[in-house]
């Protein structure tokens, strides 16, 4: 089979270089010059953009993004692990079906779900209205606060964590567990010494799939933060909307460095990328 189909991979190399590598070089070039939009005729080399990196608004946006993403990822790991483990240990005949039903909300439009969450976080919303009709008065006013953004991030991205931890758990050979019990480990010890170490692969790829979109997304903080909270995604979006491609590209390159580190981490833990989907 080897000699016949090798050339099938060549177009993919070309395609990935054109659409994945060249844009990065493009962005790097844009971040070192000052020009109008994409017109390079009057471009001059400058390091001025790098000065903006230390501007307080940018630094705050970076710090915020990082903190929110870390908190959301940690909560997702804890909750996601418990849910994935409970399904893995459950006695359902078709665990995969239970899993899919659990993460069914993932299949409806993300923006709409965020909008619905935002409405729920207002003091008066459809559920409090319905509850008031049966005599329960409940009010929650967290719209526009950091808590709202973090809840939104967790609610949106937790399915990815559950799925990837579950995939890692499913791949554990059952005879290893039997061996652990035969050798006299208790259930708790078996979990910490056998199952948990073998599922770290899933935690790593799940964390990356939660952390990266949490850090770089701009729709969730924009809708749930109601303009009070700027994450780095919002800053980049604003720069590109104002046609300030240079600064926007520079910030995108910074994010990219973080992502490349994550890609290298994944390829170290998971050589074939099998837990990524």
């Amino acid at each position: 089979m080897n000699k016949y189909f090798k050339k099938l991979a060549i177009p993919y190399f070309v395609w990935l270089y054109i659409l994945a590598i060249i844009p990065f070089m493009f962005m790097v070039i844009l971040s070192f010059v000052s020009n109008e939009g994409l017109d390079f005729s009057a471009a001059i080399f400058t390091l001025e953009n790098f000065g903006h990196l230390t501007a307080s608004s940018t630094v705050i946006a970076f710090m915020n993004s990082f903190f929110y993403a870390v908190i959301a990822t940690i909560v997702c790991i804890v909750i996601g692990y418990m849910v994935a483990y409970a399904i893995f240990r459950s006695h359902f005949k078709n665990k995969f079906l239970v899993m899919t039903i659990l993460i069914l909300p993932m299949w409806s439009n993300m923006l709409l779900r965020i909008e619905a969450l935002k409405n729920l976080m207002e003091p008066h919303n459809i559920i409090t209205d319905l509850l008031a009709k049966i005599g329960i008065n409940l009010s929650l006013n967290i719209a526009g606060t950091p808590l709202a953004v973090i809840i939104g991030l967790i609610s949106t991205y937790i399915p990815f964590m559950i799925l990837s931890i579950y995939t890692a758990l499913e791949k554990i050979d059952y005879s290893l567990e039997e061996a652990a019990l035969d050798l006299g480990l208790t259930e708790t010890k078996k979990f910490w010494k056998v199952i948990f170490p073998l599922s770290i692969k899933g935690i790593v790829s799940g964390s990356i799939m939660v952390f990266l979109p949490c850090m770089s997304g701009f729709a969730i903080p924009e809708i749930l933060g109601q303009g009070n909270i700027l994450l780095i995604g919002n800053v980049i979006d604003q720069h590109f909307r104002n046609m300030n491609y240079n600064l926007g590209s520079l910030l995108a390159v910074v994010i990219l460095v973080v992502i490349l580190a994550a890609i290298l981490l994944v390829s170290k833990f998971d050589k074939e990328g099998e837990t990524l989907i």
């Binding site: 991979a9 399915p159 992502i259």
Partner: protein
């Protein structure tokens, strides 16, 4: 006659605690309660937006904070509200074409990749992970930059063409990653046998390899479709000429504070359809298993 007791009944039976085992009954119960609470919380967190969308879709009031009475008029309005219908049509058009093209190409690419040497393979898999893990905003901007530099050669390029290309770009890695593990499982001798029997390489690719990796192709296709159907950020940056998909339409309606409840109705319909498909496919699969076992 003296009754002979079995030996073990003559002595006090050692309890498992005597060997240093602790029951930790209290911690176990506590953990159980915490586990149930966490699971309920997780399900609540994931399902509460869906539930609200459903309530919104049968709410006769257009104010999102009030529940008027139960109505189904928004479901009818999906088909009469022009701009929403166009957005839905665009979404379906883009995601179906993107899924078909990336399933076909992704399968061929994966077959190519599986034959590469270890080092080249690692290299291409690293590249393959880039669209998958890259921040949507960075991918979107990167694609936009590439497409805008091509505008000189292809005027009127922005619109469905750029969006379709972008969707193929970010769905391909999913197909490649789903197909590759299946390719590793197949027996290379099968292909050799078909060549020995006089079939040319490409026909035998179609007759031998493709049927063996069918399941991987299918799951890649489903993944590609779901990713493409729900995408917002990349579409937002790569579209043009007023070509909106559903997410972009929702985003701009939200900006104008004029989100029509019909879109909630559409979203509820989509969820119901997905749920039904899931159950049906599962029932069919169950039946097939049943038949095979008999």
């Amino acid at each position: 006659m003296i009754k002979q007791y079995p030996l073990y009944e003559q002595y006090e039976v050692a309890k498992i605690e005597d060997y240093g085992y602790k029951e930790h009954r209290f911690t176990k119960i506590l953990y159980k309660i915490i586990r149930y609470l966490v699971i309920i919380f997780a399900v609540f967190l994931m399902y509460i937006p869906i539930f609200t969308i459903f309530l919104q879709s049968i709410n006769s009031s257009t104010i999102t904070s009030e529940f008027g009475s139960v109505t189904l008029k928004w479901y009818v309005n999906i088909f009469t509200k022009g701009s929403l219908l166009t957005a839905i049509r665009n979404t379906v058009f883009i995601s179906i074409w993107a899924t078909m093209i990336s399933t076909l190409l992704g399968t061929l690419f994966a077959i190519g990749i599986s034959t590469l040497e270890r080092k080249t393979k690692r290299h291409i898999m690293l590249l393959n992970n880039i669209p998958l893990l890259n921040a949507d905003i960075v991918s979107g901007i990167g694609l936009m930059l590439i497409f805008s530099s091509l505008v000189h050669f292809f005027p009127y390029f922005f619109g469905w063409k750029t969006m379709l290309l972008a969707h193929i770009f970010f769905t391909l890695p999913y197909v490649v990653l789903s197909v590759l593990p299946k390719l590793r499982e197949i027996d290379p001798n099968l292909f050799e046998a078909s060549l020995d029997l006089g079939v040319k390489p490409y026909p035998s690719l179609y007759k031998v390899i493709i049927p063996a990796i069918k399941a991987g192709i299918f799951s890649g296709m489903i993944l590609a479709f779901t990713m493409s159907f729900d995408d917002f950020v990349i579409s937002y940056y790569t579209t043009g000429n007023g070509f909106d998909n559903l997410s972009i339409w929702i985003y701009s309606s939200m900006g104008r504070k004029s989100l029509s409840p019909s879109v909630y109705a559409f979203s509820t319909l989509v969820t119901i359809v997905f749920f039904a498909l899931l159950i049906i496919s599962n029932l069919l699969q169950g039946r097939r298993h049943h038949n095979e076992n008999n």
